[in-house]
Every structure is written in C-alpha cells, then in structure tokens.
Symmetry: C2
Subunit: 233 residues, 2 copies
C-alpha cells in the first residue's frame, strides 16, 4: 500500500524547513530547492503541496502568524479567566497583564526563532504585495488585542487614558523590543524586556487622566483620537 | 584633458543609487550591475570606486549611518545651546526634547527613505557579519545619545529615573515607531509619531522616583541596572 501523507502535516513540515533556511540566511536564501532539501523532500513534492515559490512564502508567513495568534489568544483567555475570577489584587493583575504582553516578545528560544522569522517576513512584505496582505491582517489583529488590554487597564484603574495614542505607543514598544532583541540579542534579554513592559504598565497606571491632555489637544485644533480612528478604518 | 572625478562624491552617488534599488526591491535585489545601471555608470566604474558587492554594501550602510548621526547630532547641539541658554520654560524644554527625539523618526519623505534603508540593512546585518559591525556601532552611538537625553530629563526634573531601564524603553519605542511607520505608513504618520513621543516624555516627567522601584528590585535579588551595564560593556 502507498504511504498515506497528511497534506496539512506535510505543509507544516515544509514551512518549518523554510523557517530554518530563513533564520540562517534571510529571505533572499529561500528557494524551492533549498527548502525541499532541508525538508528531506524532492522538489516536486514541495511543488505538489505548496505550488510556486510565492505560494510557499505566503503559506509560511500565514503559518507563523497563526501560531503567534494562537499562542497569544490562548494566554489572553487564561488571563481573562483570572481577572473575571476577581481574586487578584492590583499587583497580581499588573503582573498577569505583563505576562500577556510578554507573550508578544521573544522571551525564549522558540519565541526568538519565531520572532526572527516574523521580522524577516514583515520587512519582505514591504515590497511584496502578497506578503503585505498577511502583514496587514496580523497588524489589525494585534491592534485589536492591544486595544482590549488597554481598555481593561483603564476600566480597572478608572484612568482616562487616550486609548488610541496609548495603543500606538504600546504597539511600537513591543515591536521595537522584538526588533532590537532579534538584531542585538546580547543587549536585550528576556529579563530586561519583561522589566521594560512592567515599567510601562506601572507608568500607565500612574498617569494623570487624559482629560487635561485632551484640553491641550483641542487648543492645538487637532486630536490624535480622530486621526487614529480615521487611519484605522 | 580627462574629466576629473571626485572619488568621494562618486562613491556617494553610487550609495544613493544603491539606496534607490534597495527601497524598490529590498536587499536581495542589490547587484553591482543593477546599482551601476541606476547610477548611470559602467559596472567596472562601480568596482573601481567600491570594489566587491560586499564592500559596496558595507560602504552604503556606513553612509546611511553617518548621515543619520550627523543629522541627529546637529539637532542635539542646537538643543543643548537652547537648554544651556536657560531661557526655556518646562513646556518649551519638553517640546525641544521631543523635536530631538523626532529626528530619529521618519517624519518626512527624506527621513522615511532613510528609515526604509536603515531597516533593510539592520535586518540584513542579522546574517551578515560585516554589516553587523556597522549595526553594532550605530546601536552603541544611539544608546549613548538616548542616555544623555534621559540624564538631562532627570537632572532638570530631579526625578529618580532608572536610566538604563528607561533607555531600553525609549530606544525600543523609537525603533518600533520607525519599523511600524516603514511597514505600515498609513497607520502611523508623523503627527501621531510626535504625539507618541510627547506622551512618553510627559509620562516620564510625571513618574514617581525610581527609589521605590529600586527597593523592590533589591527585594527580587536582582537589578536591571547591573544587567544592563554588564551587557553594555
């Protein structure tokens, strides 16, 4: 009897081989032949499961995005259960929120491998319209989750945070930590990253209400909130 | 008489041609032939001025790093003159510091072009040891300048900021804003970037002294300051 191959599993194996090639040499080193060799498959077999080089790239980027999303959402659900339980004090709540945000960051070897792949694909997406679709979808998802986290901080602390502005700031902070950790791992280990996140959350908690800032913004004749909402649509 | 060619100017022209190719297609699209064509030169001429593909890449990355440094340092000197003059009130000082930090960010077309090139080279440096040297040198310079800015905020406001931790946070924020603006320019324009920076500075100014946090860190049996200093040497 011929060996039965689960197509989904085979595609995942090809994606993993692609990630390994990508981590070693960057996007320019990814070829169908190289990925096939790394996966221990014939190049025809890779073509059978994933088609062209371009289809393989899009599938691989989708795969890493889904893995990231599944991990973060699973952590977010656990956190929500903890918070809804109501048994956590302020410090424990801040710690739990920091843990969730750290799930976005390359805190261990597996997540560092994932982050390296993510940065490479994100940068490649700048000049590749098919990768850009995945990039935009992932950015929208992350923005939604960051918004939910900040809304929850505001609700608990009764602070008047400017959510759109703080979302832009927190998202940039997480992306910057990821980029710096990928490029300069010796300068930014998991310990410092977590402390930066905790520091940021503590500063948010200690911030004065946004109303004072809104008044000043109105005096400027403009509003970040309005700009940001407009750009998010 | 033969035409006299200024070698320095010619190399700068070749670097500009390389930047244009890089912005359009990413690192993998850079070839000696492609750059020569874009610069309107024979490939032999490019080789004459910049040698191999690798030497051309290193020169181009150095060039963009120097331009960035010159621009930021010139702004920093102007700011220092303003601050030393003593005529600025607290709000004007905060605004001037924000303007300096915004010099790190892609606030207009020219700086966006530069930021795109920077991100591409930084990511390429992950797997290219010769580019990594420039990347590490630039990161050290930026860290020094960010440290100086934070020290000045602490001195003016008499705050007990944990400088190493805040430097890691502010550096990551600037890198994250740059990365997000390069990859998703529609979501993050210059206006929102400047507001994020101002918000960050205002939050720093409003923060409680670091002493309370240091006590907590000691209770943890560890110190970010120690880690960071160790990694920076």
């Amino acid at each position: 009897m011929p060996k039965i191959v689960d197509p989904q599993q085979r595609r995942a194996e090809i994606a993993d081989a692609l990630f390994a090639v990508l981590r070693e040499g960057g996007v320019s080193k990814i070829t169908l032949a190289g990925v096939a060799e790394r996966a221990g498959l014939a190049i025809g077999s890779v073509r059978h499961f994933l088609g062209t080089h371009e289809e393989m790239m899009v599938f691989a980027f989708d795969t890493i995005s889904e893995r990231f999303r599944d991990r973060v959402l699973s952590r977010a659900r656990a956190l929500r259960a903890d918070l809804d339980g109501g048994g956590l004090g302020p410090e424990a709540r801040l710690g739990a929120t920091a843990d969730l945000l750290c799930e976005f960051l390359p805190m261990d070897g597996a997540r560092r491998d994932e982050a390296v792949v993510w940065v490479e694909f994100e940068v490649a997406a700048r000049t590749d319209p098919r990768l850009a679709e995945t990039s935009t979808r992932a950015a929208a998802r992350t923005a939604h989750l960051i918004g939910t986290i900040l809304e929850s901080i505001r609700a608990r602390g009764d602070l008047g945070l400017d959510l759109a502005l703080e979302a832009a700031r927190l998202s940039a902070l997480l992306d910057g930590l990821t980029l710096r950790s990928v490029l300069h791992p010796d300068l930014l280990g998991p310990d410092v990253m977590r402390r930066v996140v905790v520091e940021h959350l503590e500063a948010l908690r200690g911030m004065r209400p946004a109303r004072a800032r809104d008044d000043r913004d109105s005096a400027d004749g403009s509003s970040v909130r309005g700009e940001h909402s407009a750009s998010a649509t």
